[in-house]
């Protein structure tokens, strides 16, 4: 019983037999088949269950507009749900499964929904599952989701690679049918750079499905020759298996190329798909047209198909969906299908034509002025009931029905930039509106030129016009003669007769009744109908159903179609895998990992890393035997207090500011006076946003009259630099100043602790004096170390200890670190990470991003005096606003935990002790917490209303999420060495 429905001829390669399975049953097809054509060849009509009612459904179309035949392809990690069988290219070993059925496709328990359909119409879910509200998420939604399903995903990581790519061209031709081929040939022959993209694996579009001739050639041979000529042109890039899915501003399009989807396995080194971004100077949309059905009762049986699809299966794939086919049409295209079927030896049991004056059919019975009112055959069409022109009812046997209600120009891509299509009454189709996207034109059936001759002509004309815009000469060459007949369509949308359901949108199970109900409840605008009924949603976006639904709504309300509404399409045209858009930017490749020049040394010495602003920073350095991070961090903190510690601080943003206006420039950037900073000195600097909120802080070191090095926090490095460029270019461009980020140009280490100077002296070259007298606190100097190596030394301290920061060219960082650790051994030098740094800065009350959090001001940070009122600086004026300068507002305070219960956590609220914590007004919040091994207590920083005057008060730190409350004492934010004596020794 192999390929019982296979006919003679066609464009399949019969010498290449391919094995595949569908629901674990083995079948065979040929190279050139789609899964859909191969299934039909094997007599398989039932391929899926519908979304809502679990109705048995078959293949409806022969292209990407398919609403029904969604299948799951492949297995395990490569399992891919919701693939349209009509575009899945057959390969040897393909495994496919039907979806949305249990336990099997032929016997689906949820088909009970179909029996209950009178309760399940549009709006049912909205109205029914209202109460109780808490049931929605936990009960209703999971049940509905399970019942109203599409395919399943594997939840395994996709083993294939996806790429993103960029292309440029003079002319992008979207679609490789007659219009697209003609446009690409015209532009290609004129020497323009051309990209021709088509979603099919064989160029030609409808030409491959027709039997007429173009010039002396069969239509498909013409397409084949045109494709070969285009392939031979070096200035033309032919991209088959490539769907242009979106159109964006200024000629940018995106497209998905299915590089390996048609192969059993993605070849080594090749991507599965490529997501292209195409920059075009001109684009010509030649996307063809999509046939539409006619709605009648039970018009969704497996075997009921679009007429053009049956034509394509017969001519291109040499397949008849059944041995007896009936045709239901309101135009001459249905007749063409009948003739081609008859020529292939398929029995056409009747041509049912709604037109009274329908032309005669040789070889089949014509029922003019008749209409199909119902059908039989639950799992596969057996017959249709026809209301004859004289009112009699007649059963016509058929295993398949070819339905043609006319054609809709495929305007989707022309709509992406808000160009609304307009209704053409003569064509009974929407066509692209006048407000076309700049650089975009449209040719062939996509703009309503439905005949082949008109498509060839339109493609060439549009190409010439596009090239003319670009100043490229192109000649109009004589086109071969081609089919040029009219459709002779007489509009007919739906059969009113019958009580059952007539389907409009098969993917979403939307029927004529649903539209009626929507209108009845006053959802009668097209956008409302869509949302009320789900018409036009999901994977096919209503490619076959939208216009039909709109036309029926127009008839039901007695309006014209333009008065009822319009259609529009958003990108993407067809579904795109998120993986293709992500390309290689997945997992660790999602964003860059930045490593400091000390990274190798850090790794070798037990560093545990965390990510800060993409940088990998050492949190602490675990020694053998240390099992808890606190052991390492406490040890590091205590060691720095007693001897010396070394930390990698390379990640701080570093900006080099130069020019005769540099000092004045920095005066604008920072709130405090920088201009008077002497050469060879450093100063702590605070930046505000223009709205007066604290922005960032760092140190400013003056290397020369006209040169400064400033640091930023790690996180804000790029933003502060951008902001400095703004101030330089947009606010004070007359200043002679240049700024350059030099973050990566220098590695930097902090050397902190009472013996830090002794350690440094071991590597500083003779001739440089760093004694306390010669190089006091806040000094800076350019010097050499280790016998001639240039370096910069800053005597600044984040830790509160006697400390230095040493900046080095990156290539020497690793060896200098190794030398320092070796020379530091007698001094008990230890490396320390950012956790120890954090403990020490909390002990000193130094603010970081936790405190400079976008809600705090210089005043609330206790830095009010840093805002110099005798000069202009960013944020100075607005920082004086009442609400920001209220002294009883939140102020930075220290917090010492009094009870040794659970440690307080950052984010906890501060609440007055005498109040019930659950009901009290929050007095402030905790920003940072650490265990201080020096104080042997948990301490923190936070903001407290009127905090300045509340030192010594005991309050609650409340963490409502965990139900915890702990008593804390409000203290000075500087816990250790408040006079700063250690810094200056």
């Amino acid at each position: 019983m192999s390929q019982i429905n296979r006919l003679n001829g066609g464009l399949v390669e019969r010498q290449t037999l391919l094995n595949f399975t569908f629901d674990n049953q083995s079948f065979q097809g040929y190279k050139g088949d789609t899964l859909a054509s191969a299934l039909l060849a094997n007599g398989v009509r039932l391929v899926g269950r519908s979304f809502k009612y679990h109705r048995p459904r078959g293949i409806f179309t022969a292209g990407s507009e398919e609403p029904n035949a969604l299948v799951e392809l492949r297995r395990y990690a490569r399992q891919e749900p919701n693939t349209r069988a009509t575009v899945a290219e057959l390969f040897d070993g393909l495994e496919a499964k039907s979806q949305n059925r249990w336990p099997s496709l032929k016997f689906d328990l949820l088909a009970i929904n179909d029996r209950l359909s009178s309760f399940l119409g549009a709006g049912f879910y909205y109205k029914t599952f209202m109460w109780p509200a808490s049931f929605w998420e936990k009960v209703y939604e999971p049940i509905i989701r399970r019942a109203a399903g599409l395919g399943n995903i594997s939840f395994l990581e996709d083993p294939d690679h996806y790429d993103r790519g960029f292309l440029h061209c003079d002319v992008l031709v979207i679609g490789g049918g007659p219009a697209g081929l003609s446009a690409a040939l015209t532009a290609g022959r004129a020497g323009a750079s051309v990209i021709l993209a088509d979603e099919d694996f064989r160029l030609g579009g409808r030409l491959n499905s027709e039997t007429f001739e173009i010039g002396e050639l069969s239509a498909s041979k013409y397409a084949q020759d045109a494709a070969a000529e285009l392939e031979s042109m070096p200035n033309v890039r032919v991209m088959s298996r490539t769907s242009v899915v979106s159109s964006y501003d200024h000629g940018i399009y995106t497209a998905v190329e299915r590089v390996s989807d048609h192969l059993p396995k993605t070849p080594q080194g090749k991507p599965r798909q490529i997501f292209w971004r195409i920059y075009s100077k001109r684009a010509i949309v030649c996307a063809g047209a999509i046939e539409r059905p006619i709605a009648f009762e039970n018009n969704d049986r497996p075997g009921s198909m679009l007429s053009s699809a049956i034509l394509a299966y017969a001519n291109r794939w040499a397949v008849a969906p059944a041995d007896t086919v009936a045709v239901f049409t309101n135009n001459d295209n249905g007749h063409r299908t009948a003739y081609d079927l008859i020529a292939k030896g398929v029995t056409v049991s009747a041509v049912i034509d709604t037109r009274l004056n329908a032309p005669k059919v040789n070889g089949a019975e014509l029922l003019a002025g008749a209409k199909v009112i119902n059908s039989k055959g639950r799992k596969g069409l057996r017959s249709v009931s026809v209301r004859l022109q004289n009112g009699q009812l007649r059963q016509i046997p058929c295993g398949a029905l070819a339905v043609s209600g006319g054609w809709n120009a495929n305007v989707a891509v022309t709509c992406h930039q808000n160009n609304r299509p307009v209704w053409d009454e003569g064509l009974t189709s929407f066509v692209p509106g006048n407000n076309t996207s700049p650089g975009q034109s449209c040719a062939g059936a996509a703009r309503g030129d439905f005949s082949t001759a008109a498509a060839l002509n339109g493609g060439a004309r549009q190409a010439i016009s596009a090239l003319d815009d670009l100043g490229i000469d192109a000649k109009f060459e004589n086109l071969p003669t081609a089919e040029d007949v009219a459709l002779n369509l007489s509009p007919f949308w739906y059969v009113g007769e019958g009580k059952g359901r007539a389907w409009i949108d098969q993917q979403n199970d939307v029927t004529v009744k649903d539209i009626e109900q929507s209108i009845q409840e006053n959802f009668s605008a097209s956008e409302h109908i869509k949302r009320y009924t789900t018409l036009g949603m999901a994977t096919d976006q209503g490619k076959t159903g939208n216009v039909l639904g709109l036309a029926i709504a127009a008839e039901l309300t007695g309006r014209t179609i333009p008065d009822t509404g319009s259609i529009s399409f958003r990108p993407p045209y067809t579904p795109v895998a998120i993986g293709a858009m992500a390309g290689r930017s997945i997992g660790m490749h999602y964003r860059p990992v930045r490593k400091t020049p000390f990274h190798k040394w850090n790794e070798e010495n037990g560093a545990v890393f965390t990510e800060v602003g993409n940088w990998l920073r050492a949190q602490w350095y675990a020694l053998p035997g240390e099992t808890h991070w606190r052991q390492s961090v406490d040890r590091e903190v205590l060691a720095i207090g007693n001897s010396v510690g070394i930390a990698d601080v390379s990640t701080l943003g570093k900006i080099d500011v130069q020019g005769s206006g540099a000092a004045e420039f920095l005066n604008k950037i920072y709130t405090n006076a920088i201009a008077k900073l002497p050469v060879g000195k450093c100063r702590y600097g605070l930046m505000l946003r223009e709205d007066g909120i604290a922005y960032d802080d760092g140190t400013v070191a003056r290397l020369a009259d006209d040169r400064f090095i400033v640091t930023t926090t790690t996180i804000n490095a790029a933003l502060v630099y951008q902001n400095m460029q703004f101030v330089r270019q947009c606010l004070w461009p007359e200043l002679d100043v240049q700024v350059q980020s030099v973050t990566e140009a220098w590695g930097q280490i902090a050397i902190a602790g009472p013996t830090s100077r002794r350690l440094l002296e071991k590597i500083i070259d003779p001739g440089f004096d760093i004694s306390n007298g010669a190089f006091p606190f806040m000094a800076n100097s350019e010097l050499t170390i280790c016998d001639g190596l240039p370096a910069r030394l800053f005597r600044i301290s984040f830790s509160g200890q006697l400390a230095y920061e040493l900046a080095l060219p990156p290539r020497f960082c690793d060896s200098v670190m190794r030398i320092l650790i070796e020379l530091g051994e007698p001094l008990n030098a230890v490396p320390y990470g950012i956790e120890a740094m954090n403990v020490m800065r909390i002990e000193k009350g130094h603010a970081t991003g936790a405190e400079i959090n976008g809600q705090t001001t210089a005043l609330s940070l206790g830095l009010g005096r840093m805002v110099n009122k005798t000069k202009d600086s960013i944020g100075n004026v607005l920082s004086e606003r009442d609400v920001l300068s209220d002294p009883s507002g939140p102020m930075l305070v220290g917090l010492r935990q009094l009870e040794e219960k659970v440690p307080i956590v950052a984010g906890s609220h501060l609440v007055n002790l005498q109040e019930k914590t659950g009901e009290a007004e929050s007095q402030g919040y905790v920003t940072s917490v650490a265990y201080s091994p020096n104080l042997e207590s948990t301490i923190g920083l936070g903001f407290l209303k009127n905090g300045e005057s509340r030192k010594g008060e005991i309050i609650w730190a409340v963490n409502p999420l965990q139900g915890e409350e702990v008593q804390v004492e409000v203290t000075n934010p500087v816990f250790v060495d408040p006079e700063g004596e250690r810094l200056r020794v």
Binding site: D249, E690, Q725, F726, L731, P733, V877
Partner: protein, 95 residues
């Protein structure tokens, strides 16, 4: 979108960071008597035109220049691009 950079030619807008209305160039005088109100208006009160709009874009993944881009907010047509630096200096001389 494509932004025609005055120095670097046409570049994809993905290389840029958007800031907002180009009136941000007109920072008030901090010494003005009414400076608080002027700064408030400068920072918060913007026109929101449906049509041509002068706005600031920063060439983050490029040369770090700030551009004044005149873009139609309805059609996204970009009719003019200039360096903020040049514009501001030119205006400074005329004033």
């Amino acid at each position: 979108m494509i932004i025609d950079h005055p120095l670097l030619g046409p570049r994809d807008s993905q290389e840029f960071t958007y800031l907002g209305d180009a009136t941000l160039l007109n920072r008030p005088d901090w010494k003005s008597e009414n400076s608080s109100n002027e700064f408030f208006e400068y920072l918060y009160l913007r026109d929101n035109p449906a049509g041509p709009h002068r706005e600031l874009w920063y060439h983050t993944y490029g040369d770090q220049s700030w551009l004044i881009v005149t873009r139609d907010t309805v059609t996204h047509e970009i009719s003019h691009v200039e360096l903020a630096n040049d514009f501001k200096r030119k205006r400074g001389k005329g004033a």
